[in-house]
Each structure stands twice: as C-alpha cells, then as structure tokens.
Symmetry: C2
Subunit: 343 residues, 2 copies
Amino acid sequence: MQLDERKMKILQAIIRNYLETGEPVGSRTISKYTDLNLSSATIRNEMADLEELGYILQPHTSAGRIPSDSGYRLYVDNLMADKEREVLEMKEMLLEKEDKMDHLLKQVAKFLSVNTNYTSMISAPVCHKNKVKFVQLSRVDEQQLIVVIVGEGNVIKNTMIDLEEELGDDTLLKLNILLNTHLNGLSMEEINLGMITALKMKAGVHGEIIGKVIDAVALAITEDEDLEIYTSGANNIFKYPELADQQRASELVSTFEEKQLLNKLVQETLTDQNQTGIQVYIGNETPIQSMKDCSIVTATYELEEGMRGTIGIIGPKRMDYDKVVSTLKNLMNQLDVLYKKKE
Amino acid sequence: MQLDERKMKILQAIIRNYLETGEPVGSRTISKYTDLNLSSATIRNEMADLEELGYILQPHTSAGRIPSDSGYRLYVDNLMADKEREVLEMKEMLLEKEDKMDHLLKQVAKFLSVNTNYTSMISAPVCHKNKVKFVQLSRVDEQQLIVVIVGEGNVIKNTMIDLEEELGDDTLLKLNILLNTHLNGLSMEEINLGMITALKMKAGVHGEIIGKVIDAVALAITEDEDLEIYTSGANNIFKYPELADQQRASELVSTFEEKQLLNKLVQETLTDQNQTGIQVYIGNETPIQSMKDCSIVTATYELEEGMRGTIGIIGPKRMDYDKVVSTLKNLMNQLDVLYKKKE
DNA sequence: ATTAGCACTCTCTCGTGTTGAGTGCTAATA
DNA sequence: TATTAGCACTCAACACGAGAGAGTGCTAAT
C-alpha cells in the first residue's frame, strides 16, 4: 500500500483539524471538512489504511484518529508552506533596541511566548571562536587587581584578583604589555594550558605571583562557558490539556527551570545543522526525555563568526508548526537586520 | 469568650495535624492525638468555640476543621520554637564557595527548595548605598571605550561607549583623573543629575564629546538597578494538592517566571523590617495576589552596609513554619560566617 | 471504486444509592 | 458545672449502572 495524493489530503485534513481542536477527529468531520466530496465511509477506509501505514492512531476503538509522531513528521516535512506574516509587530518590538544582550534575549523569549502561546527558550550566544580584542589589568587598591577582557562582539568578562604580595606598578605595566601582545587576536579556544605555561615562562623572572595572576586571567577567559538560557511562557503549557495534568506539568516546569537539561537541546541544535537553520523535533525525537509529549522547534542564530545561539519553541505535538516556523524565520531576519545596522 | 490554655493546645494540635496530612481534622483525631484526655464531644465543643473565634473553619458542614489565616498567624507568632537543625548539610553545601555572586545565589535557591520541598526565591543584593571604589575608562580601539566601575563588595559594572569623534590619549587620561577624583568614595545614590552636570562643567573645555562619555558613565552607574531574582523548585507546588490545580498552578508558575511580581515582595520585605529579619506572610497577607493561597516566609540578608537582599520560601499555607524559619535562620548565620571569612 | 446502512464498541455524563467521617444537640453523669 | 455518651443528621466521596453519542468495521447495494 502506498501514500497516494488522496490519502495525503486526508491526512493533512486530519492533522489540521486536530491542531485546532485537540480532539480525535472522526470520518464524518473529514468528509465535510475537505473539498474531496467523499462519504464518511470512504474516508473510514482510507483512514484504516493511514493507520496501517502508521501515520495516525486511535486512542481507543470507536474514537476518532489522532496524528502519530510520523504523521506529524510527514506534515512538517511536506505540507508546510513558508508564509510571511506578522513581520510588523516583530519589527516594532525588536526596534526598541536594547544594548545589553541579556535584556534583548529576555525580550525575544517573552515576545515569542506571548506571540505563539507556547513556551520559548533562548540561549545566549556561546563564543568558543570569539577573539580577544582587549585585555587590561588594573589596580583597584593595594590588595586587589581587576582583569577586564573584551572580545569581538563586545563580550565583556572580568574577575577580581586578590593579591597576597606586593606588586609594583612597573610590574603591572609589564604584565599588561605581555598579556596584550600575546593574547590579542587569539580566540578563546586557543588560550589553553600550553599557551598559559608559555606565558608564564616568558614572565618567569618576575616570580611566582605573576603565575597566579596569569592563572586568574586564564580562568576568566575559559570559565563561564556555561549555559545562559532564558525561558518564557512556561505557564502556557496549561493551555493544552494534554500537557496540563499534574505529572507532566510538574516535569515540564522543572525542566524549564533546570536550564541544564535545556542545554542538551542547545548542544544538539548547534551541532546537527541543516540548511535552513530550523529544526523540528516531534514527540520522541526530542533529546529531552521529559518533553516526549511535546514538539520542539529550534532555530540557530548567528551574530557573527563563531557566536551562535539557539532559540526554541516548546509546545504540544499539535502545535501550529506553520506559524511557529514562519515566526522564527522572521525573527532570524530581524536579528540579522538589527545586527547589520549596529555594525 | 476567650482563648484559654486548653483551647490553645487544641488549636495547636489541629494545626500540627493539618500540616502533616493536608486533610481537615476531626474531633476524634484530636481526642486521641493530644495528651489532654478529653472526649471527642468536649473537643467538639471547644472546636465550635475556636471556630466562632475565627481561628479555624469548616470547608463544609460535617467535615473536620482546617486552620484559618488567623489561626496560622497565632501559631506562627506564639508556638514556634527556635530549633537548631540541619546545620551540617547547609555548611557543607555553602562551603563549596563560589566566587561569582550569581552562582552562589542560584545555589542557595536550589538548596532551599530541595531542602524544604517548597519553592524558593532569592534576590541579588541591591546596592543604593554601595560606594564607588574604582573607575576606569580605557580605549579598546579607535572607536570604542570601555568603562569599568568597581564598588565596595567588588560589584563590577561595565559599559562600552561608541565614539563618533577622535579622543586623544591625553584627554582620556584627564578624564580618568577627573572621574576618579570626583566619584571615588561616593555612593551610587549620590551620583545624580546635579553631580553629573557639575562634572560636565569641570570638563567643559574639552568639548561636547566628554559630556557624552560622562553621560555613559553615569548611566552605567545608575542603571541596572533592576531586579535580579532567582527562583528554584517551582515544580514543588505540584506536591501540594491544594495548589496543584490548573488554575492556581498556572498562575503560580507564571508568577515565578515574571520576576517583576516577585520584586514587590522584595521591596516589601526590605522596607517593612522587624528585629529578627524574618517575616511570615500568610494567605491574604501576601503582597502578591496570585499567592493568596500560599504562605511566604522571607528573610533579609545583609552582606555589608547598604547591600541587602531577600530570600523567600513560598509554599502552601500548611507549610512547616518551624522548619522553614529555622532553616532560614541557619542560612543567615552561614552567610554571615562565609562573608566574614572572605573579608 | 464508492456509498448507505447497521450492529457494535467505547467513552462520557448523569443520577442514584451507599458509606463513612464528622458534626450538633440532648440528656445523663461525676 | 464541666464533661461525656449517644443519637440523628449532613455531606463529600465513591461505586454502579443506564443512556446518549460519537465513531468504527463490515456487508451489501450502487
């Protein structure tokens, strides 16, 4: 048996209907819903076929059909049109431009969740390949130094260093020169242990305290590679009865809170890239166990070489894929525009 | 009618029992539960009195009694003992000392929620009174400066400034001297508009660009006064049936997410201080509408003069007040110890 | 190949009766 | 006078069964 065009249309109709209502859909409904002019009996036969093919299922005998994961998958892969919508509101909202990255991210997350009625998440761009643009070591008082490191894209990092010994102003100056000449232009990735020991060698004569300072600098650069993920609209899951029962809701809420789990998703998205930058995980395809009853649409954004982050929309399997995907695409465009402007 | 000692004991017994079970408690239970050796009939009479006094209520005729808000209030005010418990685990956990403040805060929130089975929140210390210790303006490249400001307690702020005009190295040096001599030692509050215009006057000869730079510096100091609040254990509300129904759960989840609302709580706590630093809001006493079925226990911590934050535990009205309060008290002590050590 | 018709299945809802916990009241008791 | 035993009453919770309704699969007719 094969999936001819009519079966396809029926499947599409079933999914569309289910997306709206959330209820199993019966043959009679389809018979009227489509412009195929077929009786409910014929639809029933076709539906039996579709079920055998695995695209739809019955929650119980004598209920209507609901789409299976592979049904959704087919729908997403084939039926989705690229509509361009809602560009206006989005533009407006992004144009209240925020300098601070994290504010922007929070706003984007909020916008997405309000706009789609699903839960959204956004990860701050990670910057392994980000290059060091500027390093400075300054004295705050007798016992404390501050290290400021600025990377491409104006990513700023800083750490305080507690001194246990004297450190003369001349030594400080030398250290600054040393750091700048050796670290400038290097990517954060390239500053590894070997690099550090080499630096220490060069500074060797100045004694062991400099080793400590350099260690602190290295730490400031390498650390903090950890996840910064913002979520918004977690309460939207309560709008979908199939997710809102205690068990599931509790799991989902704690997943959104434990950003660690979401990081899995980010990792997966960043590595497993396709051409459009948009990926859809349906049901069990998701890398996060607790979301096996959800679907996730993710997009990767790239601010500049090596600075990439992930945006995700999490909702029920009957999510309006069409709308979500086009919303995300638009958002990407807007981000691009915004970023280009600022350059 | 008055609240004699026997009524008090019965009330206490009712509340204790209700805290454990979450079910309305009947007269027979109390008759056995307490060491008063009274029959259920007597208890019934007393309970009728207690109800008339407003300390307990019946969800419906012929159900047992549950504590009213004022019942809980009485309990909290009078019956609570200062037990010292669980100091060990807490100590251990805090001693993985974290340099970064926000990590520490997250960890504390997590610890509290895991430890109490309620939801916790913690606000980062706000620092109106925090004093400027160090200001530095450095050139990153031809078009960009970075401002680094370090306050007491090593609170670091920084902003990038985009230059549209040339700015000579000598001008930069002068600016640095100007900023440091005038701002050092001032509290963040004191740096207001008047202060800024005075600064601009002094720098006046150097033209309008310096005005811009100073504005940016002022912005960096005054802005970002906004809330940073971490929550943890939001999913714990699902453990308490009286909070877990869709309506309530949804509201609560979104409240925890919208940190803006929590900020109300922080404000309230910081202003309305009592001697112990610990406050308990029961039911409708809470400043946050969506938590009217909850109780909130808050504590204020102070790292040093003018750097105060709030910790809160949010749970059902039948929360184990005893445990929560003593946990918070211990935590305060630990924070004190930890902080003193680092000084 | 499609359709009408029919018997069948299963969920959902609603009403009913039953159970059990808990009460308030009254009369007896210490 | 304070306490207690006893009893009738109330109400939520649960289980049960009937009936409705939606939907199916199969068969026979078109």
